[in-house]
Structures are given as C-alpha cells and as structure tokens.
Amino acid sequence: MADKIKPKDFENLYGSLFDNTIDGLAYCQMIFAAQEQPVDFIYVRVNKNFEELTGLKNAEGKKVTELIPGINISNPELFEIYGRVALGGKPERFETYVKPLDRWFLVSVYSPQKNFFTAVFQNITSQKQTEKELANAVIAAKNVMNDLQAEKTKLAEANTKEEALVKELEKFKLAVDNTTDNVIITDPEGIVIYANRSVEKITGYRPEEAIGKKSGALWKNPMPVEYYQKMWDTIKKQKKTFTSEIQNKRKSGEVYTALISIYPILDKNGEIEFFVSVERDITKEKEVEKAKTEFVSLASHQLRTPLSTINWYLEMLMSDDKAKLNDDQTEYAKEAYLASKRMVGLVNALLNVSRIEMGTFIIEPKLINIAEIIKAVISEFEHKSKEKKLEVKVAYELSVPKVMADPKLLDIVCQNLLENAINYTPSGGKIKVSLKSKGNDILIIVEDTGIGIPKIQQPMIFTKLFRADNAREQKTFGNGLGLYMTKSIVEHSGGKIWFSSKGGSASGGESGTTFYVTIPASGMKAKTGTKSLT
C-alpha cells in the first residue's frame, strides 16, 4: 500500500492531520537577540483548534508579544524552553499557566528544523480548575476533618461534663427521692410532674398516682379560700416563696399538719417554669408541742392549787380576829405568806417563759395610752416604794401619741422594770420613769439610783435564770426570769431593749441603772398564738 501513496498525498495527509487534530498546533520561528537570547517568536502556521484553545485570532505571521502583550513578563520560561528546543534541544513537555489568557496549557514542543519549533498544546484549564477545586476540596475536607476532630474533642469533653452533670443530678435526684420531706414539682398550672417517695409515706398516695394531677387535689383538706388566694398571690404574682402551716388529708382520711414551702423556679425571662413544694409532716411535733403546753398549763394549775390554800389560810390567820396571833406569830405567818406569794409569781413566770419559748403567746395590739399603763404599774408598787422611802418621778412628753400595743405585755414589761428598780434601789433613792417620742419609736426609760449591774456581768443580764452577784446579795428572792421575759416580749413585738449602768459593786454602792425600751410608733407586731401571757 505504501508505494501507492504519493509524496503529495503525504503532504495532504499531514496537512489535514495538522489542521484537524483536537490539540492546538503552532509552527513557529524563534527570534533571538544577541548571544542566542530568545526574545520572541512568530506564529508561522497554526491549526484550526489553536484559535479555539488559545482564543487568539489570525495568529499566523504575528509575533507572540503582539498577540499576547505582557507574555514575556508573565511567562519568561516559555521563551527559554522554546529557544532551547529551537536551537536543537530535545523535545520537551510541560504545563504552563498563561496569565494574560487566564488559561492552563499542556505543551509538547519539538524542533523540526533549527530556529523553528512546533508546539502541540491542550487547554487543561478546566482540568487544572478541577485539580485546584480538588485541592481546595481537600483543604476544605481537611479543615472539616480538623473541625470535626475539634468538635469531637469538644463533644467528648462535653460528654464527660454531661456525664458528670448527669451523675451529679442523679445524686441530687437520689437525695430528693429519698429525703424524708415530701417534695413535689409541678408545672406553672400546678400539675404534678414529679413526686418523691416521701409523698407516699406522708400522704399514702404513690408518686404515680399524684403525677399528672393538680397538686394537692388528692390530699386536700380544704383550708379557707383566703389561704389559697394568699398562696397563689405569693408564688405566682410576687414570684416569692410561700411558707405556711397547712392541714392535709392522708389517703386513709387522717388529717395531718404540715409545714409547707412552695417556691417558683423562673426561666431566663423571669417566667415561671416550675413550682417546687417541700412539705414536712409536723403532726407529731404539733402533738408533742400540744402535750408540752398542756403539761405546763396543768402543772401550773396543780402548783397553784396548794399555793392558793396556803395563801388563803395564812391570810385568815393574819386577819381573822379569832386567831389572835401574838406579834412573833404574826411575823412568822407573814414570812410564810410572802414566800408563798413569790412561789405564785414564779409559777406564773415559768408559765410565761414556756409560752414565750414555745412561741405560743399572743400579741394583741390595741390602741392604748402607754402613760396610763405606766401610771397603773406605779400605783401597783406604791405601797412598796413608800415603804422604802423611794422618790418615784414620772416625765411624760405630751406629744407621745396613742399606740397600737398589747396592754398585757406592756404591763409585764413595765412591771418587771419598775419592780427591779424598786427592789435594787436602797431606801431614800430615786426612780424616774419617762415616756418620749424618738424618731419612729416611743421610748420608755426607767432610771434608778440603785446598786447597778456589775460591769463584768452586764452581757449576761438578759440570760434566763441569771442574777447578778450584787442582786443576789441584796435580795435572796428573785427568779432570774424577769429581764429574760421582758427582752423576749419587747423583741417579739418589734421593739428594742438596752440599758446603761455604771457597774455596781457587790457591797451595793449606789451607781444607778437606766433601762430603755422602744416600741415602734407604728405599733407592736400582732402575733397569733394560742396562749396569752399573764
């Protein structure tokens, strides 16, 4: 076959190949400066695809620097390679990015004759793009991997934290589940969403029975409507803790007393998320308290009965003409009578102390004139103060208003202070009771020229059963309850008590003591209770 092909045919064949190959083809003449320095080249012939691949039109016969201005700066390596090949070097193959064209080319170059070269090129821009994208993708992937890793580490840390939190929560839950107090958590509408085990112990209803129901519906022992109004107002409107005693009913129908504390849990916006209710069954404590109160009350009754008998028979003995006691006998009877009276005082004081300590005493403020109470107390002790030749003065500021105060309690306070002043001021001494307005308070001052309170014992003077040494020596009686009781009463009713004393001596040197008691001008705080002091 070969001999059938003529040289002319070859020319045509090659020409057609040259023109129709999918690669770009350019046959170029290299232009050298001095010393074979390649500086430019001329496109002698290019094929059809050249134009498409490079975007260069009518390239034949033109210098590359004309066609692509700036190429000698952007791609100096092209000139070097083409020059080298054109001067008889080996064919070369390389990739290049032609910045002015913004294209990537894969170029194969060979020299068919000196100073000429043929460049075969493919546009690999999209391939390069893909490669670049791939590289970017790899980088992105790596970044993602790194991020993932970091996330994973974070997650692992978070998990550890969460686990710790869960453990911590479990601990709390365990504690709450098993605490002896009844703990209930409800939604803002009061529907139970959690109930601990004590709920069953206290109410008889299992937590499962309570959950999903309105809190308290099962064990409600209806309280007055105002009670519930106050409760909802406190926890829902004011968003504060509501603490109170409440009576509820067990599954068995038995009524029990509980101390209840309900508080709202707020979210970030201050809206109620949950209510937590903690309830303690205090039925037993209440019973014990009641038993104690009854015991004290009964014991004081039982003590008073023989004392009444002693008092009244001694009174008969001393007063009844029929008894006709001689002077000595009268004196002995009188001593016994005084001792018995003190015993009565002690029983009453003990009863009051027990009421104060059990918190069962009542404070019932009424609008009263304190000066009148003081006057009555002074006249009560008139006999005693005259006997001791004590000068008792009063100084009432006329501006002192009437005040809401419990007359009984004020009477006990004034009695104790005045009695102490009289008891511990030697004959011929002076006592002054003043009543003043001071700021938001009403001030009662009881001043004496008595034996004073030893400096070292002053901090203990309000302690229950405590008696100062000099007081003990002066008066063997006295039960050490008066000031304790007085302070308790004053403080429970919103006032203050204090004193100043130059500090007495055991020998009874006259140094004087002044007691100050304040009562808020706004009145004593009312206190409900079961017992009043006597």
């Binding site: 009350s297 004081s300 008073r304 004392l307 008969m316 009844d320």
Partner: protein
C-alpha cells in the same frame, strides 16, 4: 341573807371561802363537783355561784352550759387556777360574769368581787 353556792372540789379551799364569806355576812353552801352543783341548783335558788373549773364528775364548763340550757340566771363567778386566756374566754362565753385565778388574789379581794355582784 344573800345565799352563795360554792362549787369547789378542793375541800380546804371551799372551807376557807365559806369562812370568809360567812364572816362578812353571806350564807354559803358548798358542793364538790359539777354534778352536785347541777343537782342542787335544780332544787334551790342562790344569789351567786362561785365555780371552780377543773373538777371530777362534771367540770365548771358543763355547769355553765347546764345553767344556760335550763335558763337559770344566777350570776356565776369562776374561781379557777387555770390562768389561760382561752379558758377565761370560754367561761365568759358560757355566761360567767367574772373570772379570777385563786392563787393571784387575796380573800379580801375575792369578797370585794362578790360584793360587786350582790349589791
């Protein structure tokens, strides 16, 4: 002569009250528990009753309740050694005209109280 019924389970106390009241001119009858008081009040009339509260066989409160129920209007002074406010209030609610704690007053003071209600 004014007649006073003393209801008091503590006999020495009943006796000394009687002695004192007699000495100032009152006629006294003493009974020792609530049941006896109710029984005697059904038969006799008195000008005043001095009533203890804690007694066996019918306490003072039951006597007051009985007097209310049977419409007997005799004034009653409670003389007890119970000193609690609620006892005092309970007795007064049941119609007692006065209340005193025996250990806290003298016989002279008791007589003065009695005189107040027998003028």
């Amino acid at each position: 002569m004014r007649k006073i019924l003393i209801v008091e389970d503590e006999k020495p106390l009943a006796r000394v009250m009687s002695l004192k009241l007699n000495s100032v001119g009152y006629q006294t009858t003493a009974v020792f528990n609530g049941e006896e008081a109710i029984a005697i009040l059904a038969k006799q009339s008195f000008d005043l009753v001095i009533l203890d509260l804690l007694m066996p066989k019918g306490d003072g409160f039951s006597v007051l309740a009985h007097l209310n129920k049977s419409g007997i209007k005799t004034p009653v002074i409670v003389a007890s050694n119970l000193a609690q406010q609620e006892d005092i209030e309970k007795a007064k609610k049941l119609g007692a005209v006065d209340y005193f704690v025996k250990s806290d007053i003298t016989l002279v003071e008791m007589v003065n109280k009695v005189k107040q209600y027998l003028q």
